[in-house]
């Protein structure tokens, strides 16, 4: 039984400019890694589909969706955390954490992301399960592919593609719920009242999921994705990767019988090709590490089963580091998994990663929910008033980042003899402090005129403070400013 013949090239290769995709029909397999893959698929898809539906009570002035990217309102809500546009560095921090996290995982576990958590992998895996459910396992799939387009084949293809399409639509459909109130949008979607961009997003994501997950599959990993190329730079001789132990397996016996008849001649590999049959990217791991291997370890599950059957120790194909492989080949015992994973490089990455995370958590916990900015009008910087006083004007922006309206007091700090009034008022209402109400979760922008006697420094430092009554303590924000008089050049 040599199933590989159907996909392996025959004879000497003649150079071609373009090559048709070779079909990959991965065989179903069971084992520890397969079960891990199932678990990760359930968890990741679960997170993806359920998250937008989690509610989070933020009071009457803010949306009650736990995770929401509110583009129109320029807010990002994540459970108890609300991010304003000027706080976008938190998102930058998350991206840096993701980057370091990738170093951490890749340097220890190799391409674990590719094999288990990458959306392309997860959806492809899902599509393959559908394919198996409709068409049958590997052999049936190959047979069906070769069949002419009979009614039966058309029915099967139709069923498969319909299910794929439904999954693809649900994928795009879930994405848009992160950008609007999910229950509302869900209703609008089916009533045909959702915004055009929602339908367009679903359309695009449906198309990409359908083609990339259904038809392109390993082509995405091999030709389109930049990660495999970048990841090689993050790995070293101590990173885990799926390895075929050729020193143990070779020479291959081409069948268990031959091995039994010729003891001591052959290695453990019986050349059953199970490892190739189950590989979702259609490669032969026995040829050594290669870009097509996403380290999903399904070949490990397959070969372990074969080893059990032929009564050989498991792990002919195994997760191993380059260093461990060399030690083992030389007859030694490779370092344990614990030693491999908790090496200094990984610990350093982890410390960095966790450090940034802690710093961000701390920053989020202590950040201000009230800020004030004052920008001096510089054209002109000052105005001579009739009575001899001098006036400056400032554009003041107050951000009330709490989910309730707050009446605050804006106060002039310093500047003896100085008074101020709001841009729409007049000088007879001038005061040292006045109240201002800022709506919930909004930025208020107002012009304030400040007048002070002509005598004084050409440039005098003073400040604006804004105080909002808070829960336990009043919250105050300060903004330094400078008063300019004639003579300041």
């Amino acid at each position: 039984m040599n199933l590989v013949d159907s996909i392996a090239p025959e004879g000497p290769p003649k150079p071609e400019l373009y090559e048709k995709r070779k079909g990959v029909y991965p065989k179903a397999v069971d084992g520890n890694f397969r079960r891990l893959k199932w678990a990760i698929m359930v968890v990741t898809l679960g997170i993806y589909y359920i998250t937008p539906w989690i509610r989070w009570d933020r009071g009457p002035y803010a949306p009650d969706q736990a995770v929401l990217v509110d583009l129109a309102g320029r807010r990002f809500y994540m459970f108890g955390i609300e991010i304003w546009p000027h706080e976008f560095y938190y998102v930058a921090g998350l991206l840096i954490m993701a980057g370091i996290g990738l170093f951490l995982v890749t340097s220890s576990f190799g391409r674990a992301w590719c094999g288990y958590a990458c959306p392309q992998t997860v959806w492809t895996d899902l599509f393959q399960h559908v394919e198996r459910w409709v068409d049958g396992d590997r052999n049936a799939q190959i047979r069906l592919e070769k069949e002419p387009w009979t009614a039966k084949k058309m029915a099967k293809r139709g069923t498969k593609w319909t299910i794929w399409l439904l999954i693809a639509m649900a994928t795009g459909g879930a994405w848009i719920f992160y950008f609007a109130d999910a229950p509302t949008l869900f209703g609008q979607l089916f009533a045909g009242e959702a915004p055009f961009v929602a339908y367009a997003t679903i359309g695009v994501l449906t198309f990409t999921t359908f083609t990339l997950g259904g038809f392109m599959r390993e082509q995405v990993c091999i030709y389109m994705c930049p990660w495999p190329r970048i990841q090689t730079a993050m790995m070293d001789e101590k990173s885990l990767t799926v390895t075929y132990k050729d020193w143990r397996g070779e020479p291959r016996s081409h069948g268990i019988k031959r091995a039994e008849e010729n003891p001591g001649v052959f290695g453990d590999c019986i050349d059953c090709n199970q490892c190739v049959a189950v590989c979702p990217t259609g490669i032969d791991i026995r040829e050594g590490p290669q870009i097509g291997c996403i380290t999903c370890a399904l070949c490990i599950d397959a070969c372990d089963k074969v080893m059990d059957q032929v009564g050989r120790p498991r792990g002919l194909i195994d997760y191993a580091t380059l260093e461990g492989a060399e030690i083992e080949q030389a007859g030694g015992t490779p370092p344990t998994l614990k030693r491999t994973v908790f090496r200094p490089r990984a610990l350093l990455y982890f410390a960095l990663w966790a450090g940034i995370g802690m710093a961000m958590l701390f920053a989020v916990g202590t950040r201000d929910r009230l800020t004030i900015n004052a920008i001096q009008e510089r054209n002109p910087t000052f105005v001579q008033l009739s009575d001899g006083d001098v006036r400056n004007s400032f554009d003041i922006k107050i951000r009330n980042m709490e989910n309730r309206p707050r009446t605050m007091t804006l106060t002039l700090q310093g500047l003896p003899g100085g008074v101020m009034w709001a841009g729409s008022g007049s000088r007879d209402q001038a005061l040292r402090a006045f109240d201002i109400t800022v709506p919930a979760d909004q930025l208020l922008s107002t012009r304030v005129f400040v007048a002070a006697p002509r005598e004084g420094d050409p440039r005098e430092d003073f400040g604006f403070s804004v105080t909002a009554p808070g829960g336990e303590e009043d919250e105050t924000a300060l903004e330094p400013a400078r008063f300019t008089r004639p003579g300041a050049e």
Partner: protein, 316 residues
């Protein structure tokens, strides 16, 4: 080192992949003659077809004096015109409301007022900055519109009137007009008298202490100047006569400047905008100038929170 064999054609072949070497080598890495995936070719053709289709539907190919129009009839100029028309249409109700409200009530309607101020700011940049400066701070001879001093009144109505009819506009009957005599050039005062009057005028604003000269000047002032500038030098806005007691001097507060003014008479001319700008634009300019800080006769102060312009939309 790479494992290699030779194939039937005598080419070197990379053993693990069975692919020919191209022959390029860099730093020990050799290029393989791997065929491109066929879908790549299909996508390439698809983009070419897309590109060609684009040139059919949209303006693209340059001709001698123009370019192909495209079967969709699209042009960026047309798109802009459409967008502008849409903006105009959107603004029309606001413009109409601004035209219809009593001008002195405009500041009480916050939304209209903000719209008017913004529109006024852009109109100011086009028509007014040449004299009054980009920040409306003026310069010598050109009034600073930010301050609280007005030659011809500073309420909305007065500002609108000034804008429509101009000041000392030679070809317009309703223009604001007044003229100060050239006391020196016309031989009304001699140089000594001018000097005395200047001394007196400077005592009014506290720039100079009283003296014998200023006392002589006071008499001359009462006889010749008080009719326009007022008994106490407080000015008269009905005829644009400046207040001489305040700290604001259009042509400078030093002796030389004031002497020049008294001897030769100086006055500015402002064009009338009534026949150049539409009434709504003039109202917007009025609102902008009024809002700069010197606007007078403001209605009872609006609540502070209404003043402020909230920049963000309600989230959600």
């Amino acid at each position: 080192m790479m494992a290699e064999t030779e194939n039937d054609n005598g080419k070197r072949v990379d053993e693990p992949t069975g692919t020919d070497f191209v022959g390029h080598e860099w730093d020990g890495i050799e290029e393989l003659d791997t065929p491109l995936p066929r879908w790549w070719l299909i996508i390439f053709y698809a983009t070419v077809i897309w590109g060609l289709g684009y040139t059919v539907f949209y303006p693209a190919w340059p001709l001698i004096n123009s370019a192909t129009q495209g079967v969709l009839g699209y042009s960026s100029r047309g798109a802009l015109a459409e967008e502008m028309a849409a903006v105009e249409a959107q603004r029309a109700p606001l413009r109409e409301a601004i035209a219809n409200i009593a001008i002195e009530d405009l500041p009480t309607d916050q939304q209209l007022m903000q719209t008017a101020i913004q529109g006024g700011r852009s109109a100011f940049v086009v028509h007014c900055v040449q004299c009054h400066g980009s920040g409306a701070a003026g310069s010598e001879g050109y009034p600073n519109l930010n301050d609280d001093d007005w030659l011809w009144d500073g309420d909305m109505e007065a500002i609108e009137y000034t804008l429509i009819h101009g000041i000392r506009n030679p070809d317009h009957i309703e223009t604001r007009i007044s003229q100060m005599p050239a006391f020196g050039a016309d031989g009304i005062f001699d140089d000594g008298q001018i000097s005395d009057v200047v001394s007196y005028v400077r005592t009014l604003s506290g720039a100079e202490d009283e003296s014998a000269a200023s006392a002589r000047g006071a008499e001359l002032y009462t006889a010749n100047c008080a009719i326009c500038h007022g008994e106490n030098g407080q000015g008269d806005r009905t005829q644009g006569a400046p207040n001489l007691r305040d700290s604001i001097w259009l042509y400078g507060a030093d002796r030389a400047s004031i002497t020049d003014t008294v001897a030769n008479s100086r006055y500015g001319v402002m064009p009338r905008w009534g026949h150049r700008l539409d009434p709504v634009t003039i109202r917007m300019l009025t609102a902008y100038v009024w809002s700069l800080g010197g606007g007078e006769a403001a209605p009872a102060a609006a609540e502070t929170e209404e003043v402020a312009e909230v920049e963000t939309d309600e989230p959600g």
